[in-house]
């Protein structure tokens, strides 16, 4: 037996270390479909509890939308359950290409290629389009999947301070002699809910002849007046060379992702991106569901408009309650608690009050910046948000953090 007691011991020790450091992740079992109201079993074996979910990426409330569910059923009936193949062997159906064309139109790009997930899109895209003669210059807070993609690519890499345009310009100058330069950013940053300054970034990329890459996973479908993403919000549609995004958040929440942008770059991915070449195609019912999502969002902006109103209500409510939130206008609203234990305690007490929101702390966010990340949805009604605000006020009062400054909270609870 190769899995000896000694081997097992190595792992039990590591896992125990995670436990004692408070870094051990535990799943909560949800017995209902994803929605504003869910039924949760937590801890495992506990009776089910009805709670309001304010930590899903279900921004548009489409994860369990009846029209999307129906379209997925129909796709299942017409195109089957799975394809048992990667795209280029025998895994491309008419609906896969239809979806690619619809995404292209929706995002205002030249072409699109689907990936099993956006994690895969980010893991594959850099290696497919860049070589060791090139340089990637990324924001220091980009998503983990981009960091993995950068690691897999032989191009030189460098970073600039988060959203610091002067620093980015210095780096563009430093690497001016490279064959290709690619500037890499998230559109909306998932931990802070702030947006990249894409207007300025396009300007800099044009000035220095660099390509611009944006991961719009937390934007597609709702940021910008018609929900096309951060490039719409900043008035630079058609000027982003590569956009990656996911169908696993606002756009229905099932799974899948894509690379959308300049047609030659998309074609390079079709020829060379390893997660595209070596991983199974997106399942037909999911493709059919995403097609319906894009139809719904192209026909009306009602859902993103409602999300915008809900977000305003939520940000205003938290601020008036005396909590500290990260400034911005996206539906990602971090409530800052600074101390890791306090974030965990507040999350647990909110759950007792019927509100499901999770604490984030180091190493997911920098040391001393622990928080509860709340995420608003068009699936929320005002009564959900009012109940959640009541809970935040009650728990905030218990810990005496309402109306307190960052300094006061840190003095009391530590970093």
């Amino acid at each position: 037996m190769a899995y000896t007691e000694k081997t097992r011991g190595i792992y039990t020790e590591i896992l125990a270390g995670l436990q004692s450091a408070g870094l051990f992740k535990q799943e909560r079992y949800i017995h209902s479909a994803q929605d504003a109201d869910i039924e949760v079993e937590f801890p495992a074996g506990a009776p089910l509890k009805k709670v309001i979910n304010i930590c899903a990426n279900n921004y548009l409330g489409l994860s369990s939308h009846p029209e999307v569910v129906k379209a997925a059923h129909e796709g299942l009936d017409s195109h089957g359950y799975g394809m048992s193949s990667v795209r280029f062997i025998c895994g491309t159906q008419d609906i896969h290409r239809t979806l690619e064309q619809m995404v292209t139109k929706f995002l205002g790009t030249e072409d699109t290629i689907l990936f099993p997930s956006c994690m895969d899109a980010n893991a594959g895209v850099f290696e497919a389009v860049l070589t060791k003669d090139d340089v990637m210059i990324s924001d220091r807070l980009v998503h983990a999947s981009i960091i993995d993609g950068i690691r897999l690519c032989s191009a030189m890499h460098d970073t600039y301070k988060h959203s610091d345009m002067e620093h980015l310009e210095e780096k563009l100058q430093l690497h001016d002699l490279k064959r290709l330069k690619m500037v890499i950013t998230d559109g909306v940053f998932s931990m802070d809910g702030d947006t990249a300054k894409l207007d300025k970034m396009v300007e800099l990329c044009e000035k220095y002849g660099a390509l611009l890459f944006v991961d719009d996973s937390h934007s597609s479908g709702f940021i910008g007046k018609t929900g096309r993403g951060t490039h719409e919000q900043y008035g630079v549609m058609g000027k982003i060379d590569i956009i990656t995004t996911t169908f696993g958040k606002g756009l229905g929440g099932a799974s899948g992702g894509c690379v959308s942008g300049r047609k030659e770059l998309v074609e390079m991915c079709r020829q060379k991106a390893r997660p595209y070449l070596f991983s199974n195609t997106i399942a037909p019912p999911v493709v059919a569901g995403v097609i319906k999502v894009l139809e719904i969002l192209s026909a009306s902006t009602d859902r993103r408009d409602k999300l915008e109103k809900n977000t305003e209500f939520w940000r205003k409510g938290l601020t008036e309650a005396g909590l500290i939130i990260k400034a911005g206008d996206t539906p990602i609203v971090p409530v800052m608690l600074f101390n890791a234990k306090l974030a965990q305690d507040v999350s647990r007490d909110l759950y007792e009050e019927g509100i499901y929101a999770i604490g984030f702390f180091f190493p997911v966010v920098p040391q001393g910046q622990a928080r509860i990340r709340t995420q608003i949805s068009a699936g929320h009604e005002i009564h959900h948000l009012e109940k959640a605000l009541d809970a935040f006020r009650k728990v905030g009062k218990k810990y005496d953090i309402l109306g307190k400054s960052k300094q006061e909270i840190i003095e009391r609870y530590g970093m």
Binding site: R140, H157, D158, T159, K161, K171, L174, P363
Partner: protein
């Protein structure tokens, strides 16, 4: 040599430290999460230009760049 320590420390603070984190000549830079290993290339270029040296890529490891003192030691190997 003290001057070199101070020059490198100043560069690291300007490039990486955004709050009032204290930095000593022995603070772990990369393993301590102060310098992201992705931007070592800038640090290397800075050293090469400043001291008019060429540091081979295989010497510019995260370990060799992990503190101001280690960086100084590396640079000294190449200054004539």
């Amino acid at each position: 040599m003290d001057e070199m320590q101070e020059i490198i420390k100043t560069y690291v603070i300007k490039e990486y430290v955004e709050d009032d984190t204290e930095l000593t000549y022995d603070s772990p830079l990369i393993s301590g999460g102060i310098v992201d290993s992705f931007s070592m290339v800038s640090l290397k270029r800075f050293l090469e230009n400043k001291y008019n040296i060429a540091i081979p890529d295989d010497k510019a490891t995260p370990e060799a760049f992990d503190s101001v003192n280690k960086i100084c030691a590396l640079v000294r190997e190449y200054v004539k």
